[in-house]
């Protein structure tokens, strides 16, 4: 990553090189290729708002029909229309779920869950919950007051109607805003993935791509969540003694020249994991407990501590003209 990308978080854009782009794509692609669409997200928001209107109209209709049949019928008509429109949207959304852009499948994937967790950590707060509860109470109070007005007078009371619908509309608006914001957060994740895929070609050619600080923050949050998930997985694997440790001296390290050499050393522990019983034919004559393997031109001697579950590399020597594969 470039220095600018690693600088303290500011409102500045971040520059990504090809390594950054590939890594970011791996973070956002962990769940596979299914991605939600903004259209499906907006459909959900409108659906939820319609449920709010349906519920409010129905309750108000029930209350007012007892006092004034005309008002009650109007509310029931509103509720009925909301119900029909909601039904159509639900059907459309459900049809979409069966298609390629399966929003639910994506959200249940590894990266979908990471994005969801990132969203919860960033934007969802108890303050929003309290806000909704308070305005919900005000709404109910407004309905009660309006009912009282209707019961004691013979006319439609305009201020009463405002008292009922203003808090209700605010509640619906806040809920809609929160849902829309969440949907936009998801949308940001998959739009960023599209953007990064577009970066791949020219960053591989040596140029860099730029993402906004908001996008960078999203990547950082998704990374954080995935690191936590990885830590849980490795804890489980360690409890099963999946990884033998490697103990290697700085002197032995001098013989390591490439990532291939590194793989050879790592293979020692992988082999032990697969078959903890050591091959006695690889033991060093005259040195009990010491084993030797040849890999290409690399000769490694080691001992195994089964109590501490580790390989202690005693020497690594590079032989000229080697080539025997003894692993």
């Amino acid at each position: 990553m470039t220095d600018s990308a690693k600088s303290p978080k500011t409102a500045e854009d971040r520059t990504l090189n090809t390594e950054d782009v590939n890594y970011a794509l791996s973070l956002l692609s962990a769940g596979g290729d299914t991605r939600p669409s903004l259209k499906a997200g907006l459909l959900s928001v409108v659906s939820y708002m319609l449920v709010g209107i349906l519920f409010t109209s129905f309750i108000t209709g029930l209350v007012t029909v007892w006092f004034d049949g005309t008002v009650g019928r109007n509310f029931f008509i509103t509720a009925g229309v909301s119900f029909i429109v909601y039904g159509i949207l639900f059907w459309l959304e459900d049809s979409k779920k069966k298609g390629a852009g399966d929003i639910l499948k994506w959200r249940q994937s590894e990266v979908g869950k990471a994005v969801e967790e990132a969203w919860k950590e960033r934007d969802r707060s108890w303050i929003a919950g309290c806000f909704l509860i308070v305005f919900g109470i005000v709404s109910v109070g407004g309905i009660a007051w309006f009912t009282y007005i209707l019961a004691t007078t013979d006319m439609i009371h305009i201020p009463g109607l405002i008292v009922i619908f203003l808090p209700t509309l605010i509640v619906i608006g806040v809920m809609g805003y929160l849902f829309l914001k969440e949907e936009m957060f998801y949308a940001q994740a998959y739009q960023l993935r599209d953007k990064l895929e577009g970066f791949q070609t020219f960053t591989e050619a040596g140029d860099s791509g730029t993402v906004s600080s908001r996008d960078y923050q999203l990547l950082s949050q998704v990374e954080k969540i995935q690191i936590k998930q990885a830590s849980q997985q490795v804890a489980q694997e360690l409890s099963e003694h999946k990884y033998y440790g490697i103990l290697i001296s700085p002197e032995s390290m001098e013989a390591l020249e490439s990532q291939d050499d590194f793989i050879h050393i790592k293979q020692l522990t992988t082999r032990l994991q697969g078959n903890p019983m050591l091959d006695e034919s690889q033991s060093v004559p005259g040195s009990p407990g010491i084993f030797i393997i040849h890999k290409d031109d690399l000769v490694v001697t080691y001992r195994v501590d089964e109590v501490l579950k580790r390989v202690e590399v005693t020497s690594i020597v590079r032989q000229e003209g080697g080539g025997t594969d003894g692993s």
């Binding site: 220095d3 590939n22 990885a230």
Partner: protein
């Protein structure tokens, strides 16, 4: 390739390894085995040099209050995330991060 002379001596009681995921990630970076080993060794020496690893500015607990999971900033580009198993004197890197 000669090792960095500034790298501190290895605290011999600790061994290390990389999870499959970390292994895969390492090979997608420009890190050399030496730079990885150096980072591991420096981190190990710091880990065993004080009352708690957190007194070093570049080693932080991954999760506050958890004394097994740590993050070690190699340089401006990479951060190693690792778990320490004291009972086995082992150190396992499970993630090579870039955006935190």
């Amino acid at each position: 390739m000669a090792p960095d002379a500034t790298a501190p001596a290895i605290p011999v009681q600790y061994s290390y390894n990389f999870s499959e995921k970390a292994n895969e990630m390492l090979f997608n970076t420009k890190l050399t085995p030496q730079s990885i080993f150096k980072a591991v060794h420096i981190s190990l020496s710091k880990l065993s040099s004080g009352p708690t690893p957190t007194h070093n500015n570049d080693i932080e607990p991954l999760i506050p209050g958890n004394n097994e999971l740590f993050s070690y900033k190699i340089d401006d580009q990479y951060v190693l995330h690792y778990q320490v198993i004291e009972a086995e004197k082992k150190f396992v890197v499970f993630w090579v991060g870039r955006f935190n």
